[in-house]
Each structure stands twice: as C-alpha cells, then as structure tokens.
C-alpha cells in the first residue's frame, strides 16, 4: 500500500492479470510498431511522473504497451489509434508505451483509455516520447473510464533541437485520476505544447500536473488548460515552468481556466515558475470562477434553460481543444460524453 500524498489517500496496487484485448487499432500500414520489449526503454533523468511507486509498479507489472519507431524523414499522415479498453475480463491496464521519432519525421498517436462495462477498472501507465531533431510528434490522450475506476497516467517527452511535441489531453472519467505530463525541452529551439480539457463531476478527485522543463536555448512551451468542475468534484492543478541553466531566451506560457458550476467543488491551482537563467520569459495566468451571471441571463433571455445555457458556455470553452483532435468519430464521442455529464445538472 502506498500513501498518495497529493490526494491524501491510501492506495493499494491491485494484482495485475494479463491484458488480452487488442489495443492497437490502426495498423494498416507497415509501421514499426511492436509490442513493448524492455530493450526499447528510455529513462529520462529527473523524471518522476506521478511518483516513484507508480513508475516502479509499471516496470514490475506492465501487461501491455507498444513501441513505435518512426524512421528518419518518414511523415506518417494517418493518426495511429491505440485503444486500451477495459471490461470485466480485462479490468486492469498497466501499459508502457514508447514512441521514438527520428530526425525530420512526423507522427500522430491517439491513445484512448475507456471502460465498456461498469467494472471497477484500474489503469497505471506511462508513455514516453523521444522526439529527435526537427521532428513533430502529436500525442492525443483521452481518458474516459467509468465513475468507479482508478486512472494513473505518467507521460514524458524529450525534445531535441527544433523538434516539436504537441500533447492534447482530454480527462473525462474515473473516480480518482492522476495525470502527469513532463516535457524536457533539451534541444535548441525545441517546442513543447500541451492543450488539455478536464471535466470533474460526481465525486471525482483529480490530480493534474504539467511540467515544461527548458534546457535548450530559445526553447518554447505553452500550456493551455480549460476545466469544468461540478457536483462535489475536486481538483489539484500544478503547472510548472522550469528554466534550467542554459535555457537562454527560452519562453514559457501557461494558462488554466476553470469554470466552477457548483458551490461544493474544490479547485486548487498551484503554478510554479523556476529560473536558473535570467534571460527567460515565463508567464502564467489562471482563473477559477462561477459562470458569469450576466452571460447566463443573456443566453436564458433567448429561451435557453439554465442547464442549456451553462452547457453552451462550457462546450464553447472546450471547443477549440476538442476540435483539434484529428478524428471526427472521436470528437463526436467526446462531445456526447460532455453532453451526457450535463444530463444531471
């Protein structure tokens, strides 16, 4: 049993049975995807993810995962879809995913964690991205597990010169959910972007932590997060911009906007700005608040019920991020999921 300090709870890792569902959905073309082998591993220095216990648990127990190696100058147009589906036979996913993208290449990977029964599922996983010079890597992560499940997800990227990693994270489910994204901007003019939405309803507890670690000169990062909390959901958000020695003229930016729909929600936001260099620029902005009463009234005066008016404003704040997901089907599913959660407002 580990004590998970961030949320203030005790957590027992379950036994990890085999995972037998197919998780790579889209293997039409001869990509270099293979099921994870230990020899593929990369271990970024100074990466903690959600914490050592979680990382060790993955290393000792993983039951799924893949390695994707994109060769030099290979631009893979179609997104690769990976679905970790959990049900009564496969309630546990401990996955280790490794994505290595060589120089001048490009790839998009969509990784989706979902339950298809009301079994109490458990996910603890890690996704590691290694983006070499001048590569573009888009990773879209969707978490929509049911209300009794646990989700723990650690993500890390190492970005070399002029490489670019774009993370999109959509957090919609679980009873307890921890998500960490750490991006090491090692190379000169490397770029890291993270756009995310989260929706907390019911009694969900969420721990979200994002770190952009600038080591390369003129590296650029941006974190853009839109959240909604309702019922009795709780959330802790940590956004760190960390400028290490050598990150001259680097720029980092972070924004988190959260809409609080009910008085009983709890929202903590802890931005962190660390500088070992002077010549850097770091900005953060955060706001948490109720929906603007006058906006609500304006919409209601045109016939929208209070619920529909709130829904419209929330959907509008999510829209740019949802619209950037390169799959009509997934966008539709996510929109429906958001809609469903408004059914009991």
């Amino acid at each position: 049993m580990v004590k998970w300090k961030r949320i203030g709870m005790d957590l027992t890792f379950p036994n990890v049975p085999k995972y037998t569902k197919d998780f790579i959905n889209d293997m039409g073309q001869p990509l270099n995807i293979k099921i994870y082998e230990p020899s593929d591993d990369i271990s970024p220095q100074g990466f903690l993810g959600l914490g050592n216990e979680f990382l060790e648990h993955i290393d000792n127990n993983y039951n799924s995962g893949f390695t994707l190696h994109v060769r030099r100058r290979d631009k893979i147009r179609e997104p690769i879809r990976v679905e970790y589906i959990m049900n009564d036979e496969n309630p546990t996913v401990v996955d280790k995913n490794i994505i290595k993208v060589d120089e001048d290449s490009e790839v998009t990977v969509i990784i989706d964690y979902k339950t298809i029964s009301d079994t109490k599922a458990f996910h603890n996983g890690i996704t590691k991205v290694y983006a070499k010079e001048n590569s573009i890597v888009n990773i879209i992560k969707i978490q929509r597990m049911n209300e009794s499940s646990f989700n723990f997800d650690s993500n890390v990227a190492i970005v070399e010169g002029r490489g670019k990693v774009n993370w999109i994270s959509v957090e919609l489910g679980s009873s307890i959910s921890g998500a960490n994204y750490t991006t090491f901007l090692d190379g000169e003019a490397s770029e890291g972007y993270l756009s995310s939405i989260y929706f907390g309803d019911g009694n969900r507890k969420m721990d979200i932590s994002y770190s952009m670690i600038h080591r390369g000169p003129r590296s650029i990062s941006n974190i853009d997060t839109k959240g909604v909390l309702m019922n009795e959901a709780r959330k802790v958000f940590r956004g760190n911009l960390d400028f290490k020695k050598g990150a001259r003229r680097a720029k980092g930016n972070e924004e988190e906007y959260v809409i609080l729909l009910d008085p009983k929600v709890k929202s903590d936001s802890i931005p962190g700005l660390f500088c070992e260099e002077d010549d850097v620029e770091g900005n953060h902005a955060a706001s948490a608040g109720q929906l603007d009463k006058n906006k609500l009234f304006y919409l209601m005066s045109r016939g929208l019920s209070e619920r529909d008016a709130k829904k419209l404003i929330v959907e509008a704040s999510f829209r740019p991020i949802i619209d950037s997901i390169p799959s009509d089907e997934l966008r539709e599913e996510i929109n429906l999921e958001v809609e469903r959660r408004f059914a009991n407002v």
């Binding site: 009463k293 009234f297 209601m300 005066s301 045109r302 019920s305 704040s317």
Partner: protein, 251 residues
C-alpha cells in the same frame, strides 16, 4: 380576454436592497408601440431587466401580468418562451458560440421544435439581408469583437428570428449611425403588427420619427410620471426633464 398584452401594477423592485422602481404602472395593449424616456439612472433598464427576469432584480411588491398571467417569478427562459424579448443596452459577448449556432439553439428552445440546419440558414440569411448585415457575421462568435453598432444590429437580428409578442428595446438606437437607425426602425416595423407590441427605451427622438408610437411615457425616479403622445417626446427634446421633474415634485 382583456385587450392588454402586458399590465404592470404598482411594481417595486430592489437591487441589492436599494429600491429602484417605486410603484410603477404601465399597460401595453396588443399591437401598440410604447416609448419610455427618462433621465439617466431613473430605472429604465431596471424595468427592462425585471420584465425579462434577471435574478438580481428583486420584486418586492406589485404585479406583472402577461396575457393575463402573473409572471413575476418566471425565469428568463420561461418569459422568452412566452414571447418576451429584450434587446440589451449592453449585449454580452459569448466566445466560442457562433451567431448562427446560438440563434438556431435559441429558436429551437423557444418554438419547441428542433430547427434544421439548412432551412434555418436560409431564414437567417434572409433576415440578415434585410438588416444589411454581412453574411459572414453568422459564423462569428456571438458579439465578440463586434462594434457597438454591430452589437445592436445583432440584437435586432435576434428579435426578428425569434419573433416575440413583446419586444423591449433598451437604447437600441444609442451608438447607431443614421442609416443603422433607419434599418433598425424598419426591422422593428416588420415585427410590429396587430398582435405584436414594442416597448422602446430611448433618449432620442430620431427613432420615434420612424416608429409612430401610440404612447410616450416619462420614467422618473422609479415611476412613470407622465404619459402622452409623440408631442411629449418633442417637448422633452426641447426643454429637457426639468419642468417635469418640478411638476412632479410639486405634486
């Protein structure tokens, strides 16, 4: 059935425990055009918001009846469904929601019938042409970055799509250039018929020249203190409110 569309009796309204409307009476019949004028801070917008059901405005006394039904406590969406519309003095900006999407949702809620995309788009296009609005505004976010005048026109566009029985225009003419005032007035006239009524709050009598109102009311310090015809508006235009203020104070 009475001939009254709206009847307000002895309406008292507080904002944050401060009394703003202090016993206001007003009757509007089917198919009538009424004007309310009055000095700044007199309570005109307060009346408009209260009629529309803004939760911040607390009715402490009196009654508002619409088509003979008491509507004091109805929420804004229910009032909209009954056929009341307010053109806001300061329309809100809603990023992320386009004019078209919003109006289709609004029209669907008010009529109770899901508006289909293609026919609705056609309707919207027609109405926009009548108001000399460029087509691309349909795809812009609601009021976001609109100029003052564009926002007001967009209110009239919403009115002509939603076709209310009672349209309340709170200083819709303020900030409009002369052509825009004419276009807005024409829009209002198209809505107005033997059933649909209009309540116009204004400081200027330019709009009145187009609209031929049935009644002009002066709202002063939370009450309607004087009612007349268009000549009353002309008198105010010339002499201001001082005479009326004194006349009322002497009573």
């Amino acid at each position: 059935m009475s001939k009254k569309l709206l009847s307000i009796r002895n309406l008292k309204v507080n904002i944050e425990d401060k009394e703003i409307l202090k016993g206001l009476d007003l009757n509007i019949g089917h198919g009538e055009i009424h004007i309310i004028m009055g000095p700044n801070g007199g309570g005109k917008s307060t009346l408009a918001y209260t009629l529309m059901g803004h939760p911040r405005y607390e009715i402490t006394d009196g009654e508002i009846k619409f088509e003979d039904q008491l509507i004091n406590d109805l929420s804004a969406d229910k009032k909209a469904k009954k056929g009341i519309f307010l053109s806001f003095q300061y329309p809100e900006e809603i990023p992320g929601v386009t004019v078209e999407e919003f109006l289709r949702t609004a029209k669907s809620s008010i009529t109770g019938e899901q508006q289909r995309i293609i026919p609705f788009r056609k309707l919207l296009k027609e109405k926009m042409e009548l108001l000399e609005m460029k087509e691309e505004y349909a795809n812009r976010y609601l009021n976001l970055g609109f100029s003052g005048g564009e926002k007001k026109k967009n209110e009239i566009l919403q009115m002509s799509i939603l076709e209310p029985k009672l349209a309340i225009l709170d200083e819709t003419d303020s900030g409009l250039d002369v052509d825009a005032i004419r276009i807005v007035a024409e829009g209002v006239k198209r809505l107005h018929n033997e059933n649909n009524s209009v309540l116009v709050i204004t400081h200027y009598h330019k709009l009145l020249d187009y609209l031929e109102p049935d009644f002009v009311h002066i709202l002063l310090d939370g009450k309607i203190v004087k009612t007349g015809g268009i000549e009353l508006a002309k008198e105010i235009d010339k002499k201001g409110y001082e005479n009326i203020r004194q006349e009322f104070a002497n009573k």
